[in-house]
């Protein structure tokens, strides 16, 4: 019995980590007023970048660095479009996803000469350094270092918003950019920071998928987790802890999916099991939003603030 709970806990953490990392990024971006639906694309491209980096250097941590760079690059494009150009943020996000799909496909062929998936590379699926801790050491070491990075990120981002001047400024910019400007803040600079930070987090999330959970890149491996991350942000009411918890909740459903698949001779077709995380997440989202219907989002979210768009 204990084995079952340990399995579920470990699975939930594993399944929830990429969503949590990305959700923390999406949260930061949205609080500054920029919606980043393209995180799915960022995760995809970063997953590929991580494998690429690990392949070229043999060092998975450099792969992570590569993933972060890819995330930064793509989110920079989104920043320019959404912030400086004042383009439609949902539309821009779709462009990102297309670009990411394209790049992974082109990259796979160009670098590895393969279609569909990459060869195996050095990965970060476990944290052996923790195994010396008594009692829980084995469990902890079994988890990827990304899980711990996720918790660290949660702590940092939570503190940023609660205590630091930067956090206060991000919130102000997201609620009323004109007020922020009259207070002397640079709306664009703060938004650029937030969006690029979301790219870093998305990069980490993507890197986990290819290096923390497996040791290769596969087309379609993101499977909607970038969008689930956004759902987690909404469900978590735009608070870091809330988003993290919601992400883990979604991870739980994926863990359930995994578990059901391991039951021998189970009659449920695998396709229906695959549906569980998506349907369950939607259901939970619907229930939580319905209960708290007065949940107001971020006031200036999604609205461009730039000289190229006439402010009403």
């Amino acid at each position: 019995m204990l084995n079952f709970w340990i399995f579920m806990l470990a699975s939930t953490l594993r399944m929830g980590t990429p969503i949590a990392l990305t959700a923390l990024g999406g949260l930061t971006s949205e609080r500054s007023g920029v919606v980043n639906i393209g995180l799915e694309g960022i995760m995809m491209a970063s997953a590929f970048g991580a494998v690429l980096g690990s392949y070229l250097t043999g060092n998975p941590w450099l792969g992570v660095l590569m993933a972060i760079l890819v995330g930064v690059l793509i989110s920079a494009i989104h920043s320019v479009i959404s912030i400086t150009w004042g383009g439609n943020q949902s539309v821009s996000s779709m462009a990102l996803v297309l670009l990411a799909t394209g790049f992974s496909g082109v990259g796979l062929k160009a670098v590895f000469g393969q279609q569909g998936s990459s060869p195996q590379v050095a990965s970060l699926e476990h944290t052996p350094v923790l195994s010396s801790i008594p009692v829980v050491g084995e469990f902890l070491a079994d988890l990827s270092p990304f899980v711990y990075i996720a918790f660290l990120a949660l702590f940092l981002i939570h503190c940023i918003f609660k205590y630091t001047p930067l956090g206060l400024r991000i919130i102000t910019v997201g609620e009323n950019p004109k007020a922020a400007e009259t207070a002397g803040l640079s709306v664009h600079r703060i938004r650029y920071f937030s969006v690029i930070l979301s790219g870093v987090m998305g990069g980490l999330g993507g890197a986990f998928l290819s290096l923390g959970q497996m040791n290769l890149f596969q087309e379609g491996m993101v499977a909607g987790r970038g969008y689930l991350a956004l759902g987690a942000v909404t469900m978590g009411r735009w608070s870091p802890i809330g988003a993290f918890a919601s992400a883990m909740f979604f991870g739980l459903f994926s863990a359930i999916q995994l578990y059901v698949q391991t039951i021998p001779g189970n009659p449920i077709p695998s396709e229906f099991i695959q549906m569980i995380p998506y349907l369950a997440s939607l259901l939970v989202l619907a229930v939580s939003l319905k209960k708290n219907s007065s949940a107001v989002g971020i006031a200036a979210s999604g609205k461009p603030y730039t000289k190229f768009v006439q402010q009403r």
Binding site: P165, L168, N176, A179, A180, E181, T182
Partner: protein, 515 residues
């Protein structure tokens, strides 16, 4: 002498319009200088340039004799300029302290010291007599309190030059007096004040000098003692203007055509926006609703027009209960609405003028065969007729509504509503942001509707407008109608006191209702 700010030849163009046309003004240190002009004259644009929010296309800006270039408000703040905007720049979710200190936080780079900040703000508010609780959220404050926070924001940044953009628009006469005292106190402490307004009473009261701007150009700068209200008006508009009371038709048998009975609406489980409110509008009258912004006007309008279903109580129109009716049915049933924000609620700017004139009527047999297929010829012809009738200045009715001036846009809204021949016409701030000519037109139209036998419900924050246009005046305070008085027999002061909660007794004694 000490010209603290000098504007030389400032020019600012926007697509299609020259907002500021070679404007040159010099402001002296320690004075209260008013920029007067109609809506749309260019005053706000000019001050936004001074505050760094816009950059001039031509011209020079000198602060204490030195030429400066402001690329954003940070620069102007550094030069000790502060601006209190007409529409408050506050974040409802955050506290007073947070709103004031953001951008210049107290504490370390890593931690904001909210406690110390609160103390600093308390001190500052005592120093300038601006009472406010630093820990409250903005959403919990009244409009006047919010204005105090705006002023504190500016003082916190050690501004020496304060720009106020239409600060008295939302205040009662008593509050305006208090505000003028605050300005005098600031002047005492050596601040230079630039005050933008088109409301002449205040302008004449506290200014030292007045510069009038018309259509983007400076008409002239005068000392207060050299001029009077009429003189300023003439400079602002270019002619004599009569916004006084007009003669009107008398009605014998008047009935209630709109009744609001015992309506309640609570928000967030605690705040009562409408508190057993009662209101009755008669046919053939203009009933003005006076009150400080935020006392339930918005909710009342929404309950009547159908955007809000009250928690309890009922609404009747022509004897029929409409409390839960859809907006469309109410409009078809005889309710017209001129909304507060014509851009947001009145027009679809990207649609043509003609198409805007049928907004809400697009499925009527008059404009669509079988209610489905739009008849563009009929729409066009109808629009052409309305264009003549309401003097809508446009090249042709197929042009986009966004190309019209504010006054003409409002005419489109009014034309559309009037064309439907409503029994009840609700007008919310109908002259806001309009030039004097358009203001006259709007008020004239409202009276025409009244004289035709319609009931007009006028919501306005401009007391002069309420007094001029209304037959009776209802005062709204904290979600209740405190009293309904005869417009011919009440004074501004009395209205002002009622707006703050005092009630006029039959014998003329004032009872305080502020509990």
């Amino acid at each position: 002498m000490g010209s603290i700010i000098e504007l030389k030849g400032i020019t600012k163009r926007f697509p299609g319009i020259v907002a500021n046309d070679h404007i040159s003004i010099s402001f002296e240190e320690g004075e209260i200088h008013t920029l007067a002009g109609e809506n749309g004259a260019g005053k706000s644009t000019l001050m936004n340039i001074l505050f760094g929010l816009y950059q001039p296309d031509e011209g020079e800006l000198l602060i204490r004799g030195k030429s400066v270039k402001f690329s954003n408000s940070k620069d102007s703040i550094r030069h000790k300029i502060g601006m209190v905007h007409q529409h408050f720049m506050l974040i409802p979710k955050l506290t007073v302290t947070e709103n004031i200190i953001v951008g210049r936080e107290i504490g370390t780079t890593l931690k904001v010291d909210r406690k110390m900040a609160g103390n600093v703000i308390r001190e500052l508010s005592e120093q300038f007599g601006l009472k406010v609780d630093p820990d409250k959220k903005i959403s919990e404050l009244s409009v006047t309190e919010q204005q105090r926070v705006e002023i504190l924001k500016v003082l916190y940044r050690e501004a020496e030059i304060l720009i106020f953009d239409e600060p008295t628009a939302v205040l009662t006469p008593q509050e305006i007096d208090e505000f003028c005292e605050i300005l005098l106190k600031l002047k005492e402490k050596g601040k230079t004040i630039i005050f933008i307004s088109h409301k002449l009473a205040e302008v004449m009261k506290i200014s030292d000098r007045i510069t009038v701007i018309r259509m983007g150009k400076v008409v002239g700068t005068v000392e207060k003692k050299e001029t009077d209200s009429a003189g300023i008006t003439r400079m602002m508009v270019g002619r004599d203007v009569n916004l006084g009371r007009r003669s009107r038709r008398q009605f014998d048998n008047q009935e209630n055509i709109l009744e609001v009975k015992d309506v309640c609406h609570t928000v967030n489980k605690t705040v009562k926006k409408l508190n057993h409110i009662n209101l009755a509008l008669r046919n053939g009258e203009v009933l003005g609703v006076a009150g400080v912004d935020g006392n339930g006007q918005e909710e009342l309008v929404n309950v009547i027009c159908g955007k809000l279903i009250p928690d309890s109580g009922s609404v009747f129109m022509n004897g029929r209960e409409i409390t839960k009716e859809r907006i469309r049915d109410r409009k078809d049933g005889g309710l017209g609405l001129i909304p507060e924000d014509r851009h947001r609620d009145g027009l679809v700017l990207e649609y043509s003028i003609a198409n805007n004139l049928i907004l809400g009527l697009q499925y009527h047999e008059a404009y669509a065969r079988h209610g489905i297929w739009l008849d563009f010829k009929k729409i066009h012809d109808s629009a052409t007729v309305l264009k003549e009738q309401f003097d809508i200045r446009c090249a042709n009715v197929e042009a986009g509504a966004g190309t019209l001036s504010g006054g003409n846009q409002q005419k489109v809204v009014i034309a559309r509503e009037a064309m439907r021949n409503p029994d009840v016409l609700i007008a919310v701030q109908p002259t806001r942001g309009l030039d004097v000519g358009s203001m006259e037109f709007v008020q004239k139209t409202l009276l025409e509707q009244r004289d035709k036998g319609k009931g007009v419900l006028l919501f306005s924050l401009e007391l002069d407008e309420i007094l001029t246009v209304s037959d009776r005046i209802a005062v709204i305070f904290k979600g209740e109608i405190i009293d309904v008085v005869d417009a011919n027999r009440v004074t501004r002061q009395e209205l002002g006191m009622m707006m703050l909660g005092s009630q006029k007794e039959k014998g003329g004694e004032i009872i305080d209702k502020t509990s």
